[in-house]
Amino acid sequence: MKSMTEIKHHLTDALLMGYAAGALPEAFSLVVATHISLCDDCRVRASAYDALGGSVLDEAPGIALADDSLEATLARIVVKSPEAPVAMRQGILPGPLAGYVGGGPEAVKWRRIAGGVEQAILPTSRRASARLLKIPAGAAVPDHGHRGMELTLVLQGAFRDATDRFGPGDIEIADETLTHTPVAEVGADCICLAATDAPLRFSALLPRLAQPFFRI
C-alpha cells in the first residue's frame, strides 16, 4: 500500500463502475480487487462507485415482501452460516490473489509456455480467464494483439511496451487497438496478473499454432 506510492497506471472509471455494479467477469474483478488492494487512490474511487450503487438502491421502488418475511429473516440469523475466510497478503500476492492461488508465491503451479515465459491459470468462471505470467528478466512476450480486453497488473519487476513502462501495482488496459511486445526489464523476472475476455492474437505463425495447447 504505502510502499506502492509509485503507481502510475490506474483503473479506468468504466472498470471501477463495472466492478461496483457487479458487471465484470470474475477474472476482471480479480484484477480490480488486486489492484485496489495495492492502490489507496483506486480504493477511494471504487468506494465512490459503491456509494452510487447505494443511491440507486435507496431510490429503488420497494416491492412488497412475503407476509412472514421479517420473522423468516430473524429465524435465519440464528443459523450460523460459515464465513469464507478472508485471504491475507502473501509476499507479492495481495489477499484476493493469494485466495485464488491457495497460498503464497511458492504455491503457484508454473507451466512453461514459450520463450522461457511461464504461466499459471487461475480458477475463475469461463466468461474471462485469469493467469499469472512470469517473464524472465530481459525477455519478451511474443508480439500479440487482442480481440477483447486484456488487463495486465504488475506484481513484481516491470515491463515496457510501445506505450510506457509498467512497474509494481501498475495496470495496463489493452483492447483491439493495441498490438504490443511487452519486454521485461532486466534485473528481476516480471510477474504479472493478466486477464482477458478473448484469446490473445499472436502476430507470428508459431505462437498461434501453439495457442490451443497453452490456452493463452
Binding site: T12, D13, A14, M17, G18, A20, A21, G22, A23, P25, E26, F28, S29, L30, V32, A33, T34, I36, S37, D40, R43, V44, R45, A46, S47, A48, Y49, D50, A51, L52, G53, G54, S55, V56, L57, E59, A60, P61, G62, I63, L65, A66, S69, L70, A72, T73, L74, R76, I77, S81, V86, R89, P94, G95, P96, G99, T124, S125, R127, M149
Partner: protein, 180 residues
C-alpha cells in the same frame, strides 16, 4: 415522511451490532428489505428467488453489523454491496473477489462529525442522481441492476460519468485524506 434517515440508520445498525437490538433491526428491515427485493427483481431474479435472497441479505446485515463503519459508507451503500454480492452469487454463480480490508476496522466511537459529513455527502449524491436527465439516470440504474455488460459500460454511451465523478470526487476527498 418522517422516516429516520442517515445518520439515523447508522445508529440503528450500531445498535444491532452492539446490543442485538431487534427493534432497530425491524426498523432497518422495513425500510431496506423492500428496496433490496425491488433491486433483485430489477436485476432479473424471479419474485421467489428475490424474497429468498432479500432474507439472506438482511440476515447478513445482522451478522456483520459490528463490521459496519459509518465513516466509510452509508448504510444504503453497505446494504447495496451485500445485495450485489448475493446477486452475483445467486444469478451469475460466480465468486466475487474482494480487495484486502484496510488494516484498521471501525472505531469503537466514530467521530460523529465524520459520520455526518459522509451521510450528508451521500444524500447529495442521491440528489445529484435524481436531478440527472431521465435518460442518463435510467442508464446508471440499468448498470447497477446488472443490465449493462462491462463493455457497454466501457463504451460510456450516454453514461454521465463526468457529472457523477465530480460529485463523487467532492464527496470522497475527505475520505481520501483520511486514508493517506
Amino acid at each position: 415522511m418522517t422516516e429516520p434517515h442517515e445518520p439515523g440508520w447508522a445508529d440503528a445498525v450500531r445498535r444491532i451490532g452492539a446490543d442485538k437490538d431487534r427493534a432497530a433491526f425491524a426498523e432497518v428491515f422495513r425500510h431496506f428489505a423492500p428496496r433490496v427485493k425491488g433491486f433483485l427483481i430489477k436485476s432479473g431474479a424471479n419474485p421467489a428467488l428475490a424474497e429468498d435472497c432479500t432474507q439472506d441479505v438482511m440476515a447478513t446485515l445482522w451478522r456483520k453489523a459490528q463490521q459496519y463503519d459509518p465513516v466509510r459508507a452509508s448504510v444504503a451503500t453497505w446494504i447495496f454491496t451485500i445485495a450485489r454480492n448475493r446477486r452475483i452469487d445467486a444469478l451469475r454463480k460466480e465468486r466475487r473477489p474482494e480487495p484486502e480490508d484496510l488494516p484498521w476496522g471501525p472505531e469503537p466511537e466514530p467521530d460523529q462529525t465524520d459520520v455526518l459529513v459522509l451521510q450528508q455527502e451521500t444524500l447529495k449524491l442521491g440528489q445529484a442522481l435524481r436531478q440527472l436527465p431521465e435518460k442518463q439516470r435510467l442508464l446508471i440504474e440499468r448498470a447497477y441492476f446488472g443490465d449493462l455488460s462491462h463493455s457497454e459500460i466501457a463504451d460510456e454511451t450516454g453514461l454521465p460519468l463526468g457529472t457523477i465523478k465530480s460529485r463523487i470526487r467532492l464527496a470522497l476527498d475527505k475520505l481520501r485524506f483520511e486514508m493517506k
